[in-house]
C-alpha cells in the first residue's frame, strides 16, 4: 500500500504540470482578455482538484491494468502453443495463422466504437442533418464496422510487416473519391467521426496490443511496426460513414421513384 501511495504522489506532481496549461489558458483569457470574474470560483477550484486526482488515478490504472492487459492478450494470442495446439508448435506461423488476433481486434474495435458516448451525439446530429434518411443506429453500426475493419487491417499489416503508409494512402484515395459523391451535409460529420471513435480507454489498450504483437510476432520490430493501429482505426469509420450515407440516400431516392 505504501508503494501505491508513493506512486500516487509522484503521479500527482506530473499531472499538475499537465493540467496547468489549460488552467492558465482558461483563467488568463477570462481575467485579462474578457475581463470577467470567474463565476462560482469555489466550485471551479474543487473541480480542478478532482481533475488532478482523477487524472493521476487514471494514469496509474493504465500502467497497472490496461497496458498489461493489451500486451498479455497479444502474447497469449500469438503463442505458437495456442495457435497450433500444445506440442505441435514446430512451424513458424504465417499471417493466416493469426486468425484469433484478427477476431480479437475486430471485437475490441466494434465494442469500443458502439459504446462510445461521443458517437451517440454525432449520430443524432447526422440524423437531423439528413432529414431522417440516416438512421441513428445505422450510423453507429457503420462507424463500429469501420473501426473493426480498421483494427483488423491494422493487425494484418502489423503481422505481415508491410509499410503502413501504403494502407493509409490507399484509404485517403478512397476517402477523396467518396467525398466527391457523398451528400454534402454528411462530409464534415464523417470526417469528425473518425477521431471520435477512439476513446481515452481504447487508445492505451489498442496501443499496448499493437506493441505486444510487434514484440511477439517473429521478424517484427516494435519501433517500426508497433504503432499504426490507432491510425487505421480512425480512418475507416470515415469511409464507412460516407458509404452508409450514400447507400441511405440512394435508397431514399429509389423509394421516391417507386411509389
Amino acid at each position: 500500500m505504501n508503494g501505491h501511495l508513493q506512486l500516487i504522489l509522484d503521479t500527482l506532481g506530473g499531472t499538475l504540470r499537465d493540467v496547468l496549461p489549460i488552467a492558465v489558458v482558461i483563467f488568463g483569457f477570462q481575467l485579462f482578455v474578457l475581463r470577467q470574474r470567474i463565476p462560482h470560483l469555489k466550485q471551479v477550484l474543487t473541480g480542478f482538484v478532482y481533475v488532478l486526482i482523477g487524472l493521476s488515478l487514471f494514469l496509474i490504472g493504465l500502467q497497472e491494468a490496461l497496458f498489461p492487459l493489451g500486451s498479455l492478450m497479444a502474447q497469449q494470442l500469438t503463442d505458437p502453443a495456442f495457435i497450433f495446439g500444445a506440442g505441435k508448435a514446430t512451424a513458424t506461423p504465417q499471417w493466416h495463422d493469426y486468425l484469433w488476433v484478427y477476431a480479437f481486434g475486430a471485437a475490441v474495435g466494434f465494442a469500443a466504437a458502439i459504446a462510445e458516448p461521443a458517437l451517440m451525439a454525432v449520430s443524432l446530429k447526422a440524423h437531423a442533418v439528413s432529414g431522417g434518411a440516416i438512421g441513428v443506429l445505422g450510423l453507429r453500426v457503420a462507424v463500429a464496422l469501420g473501426a473493426a475493419f480498421g483494427i483488423v487491417l491494422g493487425t494484418f499489416r502489423l503481422v505481415t510487416g508491410t509499410p503502413l503508409h501504403y494502407y493509409i494512402i490507399a484509404a485517403y484515395v478512397i476517402v477523396i473519391i467518396q467525398t466527391l459523391f457523398a451528400p454534402r451535409a454528411i462530409v464534415p460529420l464523417a470526417y469528425d467521426s473518425g477521431g471520435v471513435t477512439t476513446s481515452t480507454v481504447t487508445v492505451p489498450l489498442v496501443t499496448a496490443l499493437g506493441l505486444g504483437l510487434a514484440t511477439q510476432v517473429p521478424g517484427r520490430d516494435p519501433l517500426l511496426d508497433g504503432f499504426g493501429l490507432i491510425a487505421t482505426t480512425c480512418l475507416f469509420p470515415i469511409i464507412s460513414v460516407m458509404g452508409y450515407a450514400q447507400i441511405s440516400e440512394w435508397r431514399a431516392r429509389r423509394a421516391r421513384h417507386l411509389p
Binding site: 474578457l34 466550485q43 480542478f48 493504465l62 498489461p68 477476431a103 492505451p204
Partner: protein, 240 residues
C-alpha cells in the same frame, strides 16, 4: 453524490465492452487464467474511478467556463483574439489529454528500447514531452485553421485533401521509425478534453455568424485536429 454517479456510470460504460471482449477471449478462446488478476482488477478500478473524477472535475470547472468563453469570443468580433483563443484552447487541451500522456510515455519507452534515443529516464522524459508539445502545437494550429474555415466559409474538402497531401509528402521524407507513432497521434489527441471544448467552439461560432449552419459548418474542427499532428510529428521525427 448524484452528479458524481453519472460520470462514474459513463466511465464504466466506456470500459465495459472492452472488459467483456477480453473476458470472452480469456474464458472461451484462450482458456487461460489471467496472471496477477488482483493487480489488474485494482488497476481497472483506478481507471474507472480516475476517469469519473476527471470528467466530473471538468464538468464542474473547465467545461462551463470554456464553453462560455467560446461563445463570448465568437460574439466579440475581434478575429485576432478569437484566433489566439482558438490556438490556446487547442494547445492547452491537448497537453492535458490523458491518452496522449500515456501513449507519449510508451513511445519514449519503445524508442529507447530500439536505440533511437538514449535509454535514460531523462532522455525518455524529454522525448515524451517533446512529442506532446509537438502534438499540442499542431492541434493549436489545426483549431486556428478550422476557425478560419468557419469564418470564411471555405469548403472543408479542399483543406482535408490538402492535409492528406501534406501527410503523404512528409511520409516520403520522415524516418521510418516515426511514421507509425505520427499516424497514431492523430487519433490519440481527440478524446476526453479536446472534443467537448473544441466542438463547443465550432458550434458556438457557426451559430453566431450569419449565414452559417451550425450543423454543417460547426463540425470539422476535430477532423483538422486529427490531421495536423501527423504532419507535425513527422517533422519532429526529422528534427531529432
Amino acid at each position: 453524490m448524484q452528479p458524481f454517479l453519472r460520470p462514474l456510470w459513463d466511465s464504466i460504460r466506456d470500459l465495459l465492452p472492452i472488459i467483456l471482449v477480453i473476458g470472452f477471449f480469456q474464458l472461451v478462446v484462450l482458456q487461460q487464467p489471467i496472471p496477477e488478476f488482483g493487480r489488474i482488477l485494482i488497476g481497472v478500478l483506478f481507471v474507472v474511478l480516475g476517469l469519473a473524477l476527471f470528467v466530473r472535475g471538468l464538468q464542474m470547472g473547465l467545461f462551463p467556463i470554456g464553453e462560455n468563453m467560446a461563445h463570448a469570443f465568437a460574439r466579440k468580433g475581434s478575429v485576432l483574439w478569437l484566433l489566439a483563443f482558438a490556438f490556446a484552447l487547442g494547445f492547452g487541451t491537448t497537453i492535458a489529454e490523458p491518452a496522449l500522456i500515456a501513449v507519449g510515455n510508451e513511445a519514449a519507452r519503445v524508442a529507447a528500447a530500439g536505440g533511437m534515443i538514449a535509454d535514460t529516464d531523462e532522455s525518455r522524459q524529454s522525448y515524451a514531452s517533446g512529442l506532446r508539445l509537438t502534438v499540442a502545437l499542431s492541434v493549436g494550429c489545426a483549431i486556428v485553421i478550422g476557425v478560419l474555415r468557419i469564418l470564411k466559409g471555405w469548403p472543408i474538402q479542399y483543406l482535408i485533401i490538402g492535409g492528406y497531401l501534406g501527410v503523404v509528402i512528409m511520409t516520403m521524407f520522415a524516418p521510418p521509425e516515426i511514421i507509425g507513432i505520427a499516424y497514431d497521434s492523430g487519433g490519440v489527441t481527440t478524446s476526453t478534453i479536446t472534443v467537448p471544448l473544441v466542438t463547443a467552439l465550432g458550434v458556438g461560432l457557426a451559430s453566431s455568424i450569419k449565414g452559417r449552419n451550425p450543423m454543417t459548418d460547426g463540425f470539422g474542427l476535430i477532423a483538422f485536429a486529427s490531421l495536423t499532428p501527423m504532419i507535425f510529428v513527422m517533422g519532429y521525427g526529422m528534427a531529432i
